[in-house]
Structures are given as C-alpha cells and as structure tokens.
C-alpha cells in the first residue's frame, strides 16, 4: 500500500512540472515582462525608465532562462524562470503588486473559504442524496419524471440568478441576514447562512440527477435481484443495500474536490464579500495582478492532483476489488 502511494505520488511530479512550464510560458514568454509593465503603466506615454523601475521592484529585471552576465550557479539561479517559476515548488509565491506576501495571504484567507465551502459541500450532499433516493424509490412514476424535469429546470438557471435573487429576497426585502460581510466565531454565522444556502441550491439540480443515475445503476445489478428474491422489502433493498454500494461513487466523487475546497468559490465569495481565496483570486484577476494569478494557478493544480491521489487511495480502501497494480 505504501509502495503504491509513493508510486502514485511520483506520477504527479511530471504533471506538476508540466503545469509549471505552462504557467511560465503563459506569463513570461507569450508577453515579455516589458509588455506586461507597459500594459500596467498605460500603453502610451510610458518611458523605458518607468518600465525598468517597475520590473526591478518586482524582480522581473532578470533574463528569462539563462543569465549570461552572471557566473557559476548564478547563470541558472539568477533568472526569472528559477526565481519565479521553480520557486513555486517550494511554495514560495513571492509578493503581490501591493507588496504583501502571497503565501501569508493564502494561509489567512483559506479559513473563510473553508467556512463557506465545507458546510456547502456536506449539506449539499445530504440534501441531494435524500432527494435522489426519493426519485429512485419512485422510479418510472410521475414523481420521478417530474423530479428529473425540475432538476433540469434548476440546472438551467444561471448560478448568478440564485445569488442575485437570494441577496435581493433574503437580504434586501426581508432583512433576515446582512447582504454581505464576514466575521469570525458565533457572530459570523449570520454571514455564512445565505452563501451556504445559495451554494447548496445552486448545485442541487445537477447533484440529484447524478446521484439518481448512480442509484438506478446499482438497482440493475444482480445482488439487488438476490436481495429481492430472498423477500426483502423494496425500501430495505434501497436504503440498506443500494445506498451503501452507491455511496462508493458518491464519496469518491467528493474526495476529488476535497483539496480544492481551500480555493473557495470565486463567484459566491465576491458577491458576499467573504475575504477568502476565491475573492482574492477574482480581485487579482480584475487588478491584473499576475503574481497572484500565477500562484493560484499552481496552487489549484497541486490541490487537484492531490485530490486525484486521494481518490485513487480511497478507491482501493473502499473497494478491495480494485487492484493496486
């Protein structure tokens, strides 16, 4: 088992190198640091001095890959590729445009993100599984048919509509909770309720529909026929046998996204003014803060690969039939 985990971890290395190279090409080769400086400082009326100053402030005043002027190891280490790209492997994200440490920001901002993302995930799965079980129980009937149609209708509504509508109804019209903001501890509860509820509702249609197909797939299997043949009631078949087996694909689907929960939700966080990583990213995109965007791209990929790794491991844990080969 440990050998398997080590091997799977080693597989992740070439992928991370690929992501790193890709971000390097995207952020430094497609447009040279000069171009980026010029775009930042305003394209017209910008002097070469201003560009050099901008680059020096951010450490972009070095050659891209090979530093001809330096000697020895410096030839490699004194370059943008080494300082900005390879440093990501050591989780050294550098500084954002306003001079703050990105690593520091990430470690403080991930908690508000988690405060929204974790309850949304847990409640979302609970609600979706319950409804999906209901539809699977009444499969083929009008309840099932219309349930699926309602799911499709819910999926067809833009996520922005849920957020704007929810803020308008609950926050502005009924004054139940503040429209946006964040606080820690017990006082923070009133800020979290609405984003969580909206997050759950937004994902409900797709979730119910997906889990329903999982249940229906299990219902067609041989062990279900055996269970019925020995005289178990339909509800018992569904709630004990089918539910247990269908939890395997459901939970492994959840494990993939567990690490990425740290990243938070871009849209929810920025609408509700939650100081998490999602709103951090969105602010960086809108301010064209490339250092932050680059850091988030790399961090997101690392977390995603971690998720894949966890999924593989959890598969082998819950289903012994999956060989470790």
């Amino acid at each position: 088992m440990i050998a398997y985990i080590i091997r799977r971890t080693l597989y992740a290395i070439p992928i991370l190198i690929g992501v790193n190279l890709l971000t390097f090409v995207l952020f430094f080769v497609v447009n040279s640091p000069d171009d980026i400086a010029r775009a930042h400082l305003g394209v017209k009326h910008v002097t070469q001095d201003a560009i050099e100053k901008w680059k020096a402030e951010r450490g972009y005043d070095k050659p891209l890959i090979i530093n001809e002027r330096a000697a020895g190891v410096e030839k490699i280490t004194g370059t943008i590729f080494f300082e900005k790209s390879l440093a990501l492997f050591a989780f050294e994200f550098g500084r954002s445009d306003d001079g703050r440490s990105i690593g520091q920001e990430i470690s403080t901002r991930m908690w508000p993100s988690l405060a929204i993302a974790v309850p949304t995930l847990i409640i979302g799965i609970g609600v979706a599984v319950s409804f999906a079980l209901l539809l699977a129980f009444f499969r083929g009937s009008y309840i099932d048919l219309w349930g699926v149609v309602i799911c499709i209708i819910m999926m067809s509504v833009s996520g922005l509509f849920y957020i704007i509508g929810g803020q308008y109804l609950v926050g502005k019209l009924w004054h139940l909770v503040p429209i946006s903001g964040y606080d820690v501890g017990v006082h923070g509860f009133k800020f979290i309720v609405l984003p969580v509820v909206i997050g759950v509702i937004g994902g409900l249609g797709a979730g119910i529909r997906l889990y329903r197909t999982f249940f229906l797939e299990e219902l067609g299997k041989d062990y279900v026929r055996t269970a019925r043949a020995k005289g178990l009631s339909e509800s018992r078949v569904l709630f004990t046998h089918v539910l247990k087996n269908a939890m395997i694909p459901i939970l492994t689907g959840v494990v993939v996204i567990l690490p990425t929960l740290f990243m938070g939700s871009l849209i929810l966080e920025s609408f509700f003014g939650i100081p998490g990583l999602g709103s951090y990213t969105i602010d960086a995109i809108q301010a064209q803060d490339f250092a932050v965007v680059r850091a988030m791209v790399f961090l997101g990929s690392v977390l995603y690969i971690l998720g894949l790794l966890l999924t593989d491991i959890s598969y082998t844990l819950v289903d012994p039939r999956v060989r470790l080969a």
């Binding site: 070439p14 992928i15 690929g18 992501v19 890709l22 971000t23 995207l26 952020f27 497609v30 447009n31 171009d35 980026i36 010029r38 775009a39 394209v43 499969r139 699926v148 149609v149 499709i152 209708i153 999926m155 067809s156 509504v157 833009s158 996520g159 922005l160 509509f161 704007i164 803020q167 308008y168 197909t213 229906l216 797939e217 067609g220 990425t260 990243m263 871009l266 849209i267 990213t281 969105i282 995109i285 809108q286 064209q288 490339f290 965007v293 680059r294 988030m296 791209v297 997101g300 990929s301 995603y304 690969i305 894949l308």
Partner: protein, 470 residues
Amino acid sequence: MPFQPVILWTDALIFLLLALVIAFILIARRREHLRAPWREVMRSKMAMGCLVVLLAYFTLGLLDSLHFRPALPSADASNGRVDYSTEVLSVLDLAAAPLRSRVEKTYSAPFAAYSYARETVTRLDGTQVREFPRLQFGGAHLQDPAAERGRDILLRSLRALLVGGIIWLLSGALLVALLARRANTPFRLMLANIMRGRTAIPWHVMLYTSGAMMLLAAWCVALSGAYHILGTGKVGQDVFYEAIKSIRTGLVIGTLTTLVTLPFAMLGVLAGYFRGWVDDVVQYVYTTLNSIPDVLLIAAAILMLQVYMANHPDQFDTIALRADVRLLFLCLILGITSWTGLARLLRGETLKLREMDYVQAAVALGAGHAAIIRRHLIPNVMHIVLITMVLSFSGLVLAEAVLSYVGVGVDPSTMSWGNMINSARLEMAREPMVWWLLLAAFVFMFTLVLAANLFSDKVRDAFDPRLRKL
C-alpha cells in the same frame, strides 16, 4: 453596391459548422446505425418541442452572423466611388433598425413613458422643476400616458395576437399540406392524424410550440414599435434589442467551442490508433491541462491576450475585429479546458474501432495510416463529436455569464447576457431597483439553456445503451 459584405472570423466558423452539421445529417440519413438513435430523439415530444425553440434562437443567431458595412450616402454619386461606413452591421440589425436607433437618455422601466431618473426641466413660464421627463420614443404617441397607456397596450396586444395567429394558421396549413402531399394522404386525414398525435414524429407538439413562439414574436414586434418592452439600459439602449443581439454571442460560445477544439480532440484518435508513446504523450498533455482549474486557466489566458492586444494595437484596427478576435479566443481557451473529455471519449472509441474487421481489412489491403484514419476512423467517431457538442452547449452558455462577471469573458463592447447581468449588478442598490436588465438576460438565457438541456437529455438517453433498458 449598397453594401460591402464583411466576414468576421466567428461568422466564417459558424457557417462552416452549419455546413458540417448539414453534411453529417445527409450522411447519417443513409446509415441505419447512425439514424436509429436520432429517430428515437425525433419521436420524443419533449425533444421536438425544444428543437423548435432552439431553431428559433439559431435563426436569429444566423441572421446576426451575416455582417456587412452599409454604403454611406455620398455627396457625388456620379464618379461611381462609394464609401462604406466603418460600422459593421448584420442582417438582424437591418430588421431591428428602429430598435437600434431609438435610444433614450438613460434607464427607463419596461413600457414606461417616463424616464427613470429625475431631470431639471424648464417650464414655458421660466420656472424650473425636478420631474421625470417623458421618453423620447417609448410611448411617445400617447397624449396622457397615465390614462391611455393600459388601453393602448391592450389594443396593440390584441391586434398583434390576431396577426400572429393568422400567420401561424397559414404556415401551419402549409406544413400540413406539404406533409399530406408527401405521404399521399388527403389534407383532412393528415390534419386529423397530426392533431390526434398519430404521426411518428410529434408534429402536433411542434405546431403548438411554434404557434406559441409566433404569437410571442408578433406581440414583441408590435409592441416594441411603440414602447421599450424590456425597458432601456444605462445609456438608453433598448434592452430587448440588446437581449436579442446577445443570442449570437451565446450560440457562438456554445457551439464554436467544440468546433474550435476538434483539431485538439483529434489527438485522442491518434492516441487510440497508434497507442504506445503517442498515447503516453497525449495522455500526459491532457492530464496536465486538466489539472489546472478551468477558470484560472481561462483568466490567465485572457489576461495575456489583453496585454498582447494592448501592445499590438495595429493588428486589431476596428472595434468589431477586436471584439471578434476576443470572442474566438475565448471559445478556443474554453475549448482547451474542455477538450480533454472529448479526447478521452475519442481515444476510447478509436481503441475499439481499430480492432474492427473493416479496419483490419484496410490494413491487410495495404492502406496507409493517414488513409485509415481519414476514411475509416474519423467518419465513425463524428457522432461522438456531435453528441458532445449538444451535451456541452448549455454549460458553455451559462459559463459565459460567469466569466463576464469575473472580467475575463467577452469584450465589454460585445452584447452578451453576461455583460448585461454584469452592468445591472452595479445598479442593484438603486431605489427603485433596475430589475429589467437582469430579468431580460436571465429569461433569454434560461429559455435557451432549458431547451438545450431537455433536448440533450433525450439525445443522451437515445445514445446511451445502458440507460435504454431501464
């Protein structure tokens, strides 16, 4: 010539896509194994009803893709030289010319005769008052809006519905007559069969859906002549016109994304055919791309495009071209984040197909790799591409709105539902609320996405043999 045709990049690709889909339909008609699942789709009432709605959207989108530059009224027409306007218009703009030109000063509510914002008006006697001024165009024909408006709207609605109903009856009768002639049955028998739903294809559902659409269209056309039926936006533009123009943007993103990524997805065919190191490389590339969160990759790529455009203004001389290149690039980058799924499907299918007898026979006959891939593999995986396009369409239309919100969507000068929502969001706090922009964008988007989702649901059912037995 009174106009000069302009073919934007996305226009060319849209018509290429249209040609491909028509070619596919012609091929599929002759092959039973491709035809059977589609026949099942065509028998579904829900799917055909949705198809009518989708076709209506596509017609508007296609009309909006025929671009041209109108000739300017020149001072001396004698020397034969004609100057063309720098403004790129479409056929749809021509049809909706009154909507485009009737611009108010600022916001106004749907069917309003008065502006949303107070203005200082100087009366005839010289006194100045703050009041809501009358709109320049919306309800301008009314003497006393408060008293006349309700009656006027009702009368116009009734007249519009009457006209719409007549058009529907005539076109419906024409369709039934055509069907009767093709089936060689008397008109009345055909009509009775259709009305009772006894035809293989649910024509009655299509007739009712198109009837509802025609009544709605007639109503919109008639009333938008005298009012702003969905209000006006910040700079006084007609919101109904904006929503209609946004259809093309949504369709381009929803369909071209799959088309643009076809070359990448074909790597999946190569991987499945050659296996070995080609397979390893392709799988490595798509795992790497897949591991970057979609929104971040899109954001990074669009930001880089912005920087590039800012530094090379000479390559993008007109606003229309700039906006179009950005739209195409957005499709491309959206495709790059989503081609991995399609490539994986194509790889799996090719792995299966390459062991088929006819491929083995082609190998035995000495056909080269290129010939086998072109003649035997690609035609047989094209249906997967089409299904993927249908299934991913609605998600892409919704994604456009979110990306525009993040600030990495279409160009701000392109009319799109995302841009409409984005601009309205800033006005949320105003009292009374400016709700009509949001409503228009969400309703137009919801109708399109719902129709596409219900249609693709049936397509999925028809093609997925596992679900068919349930």
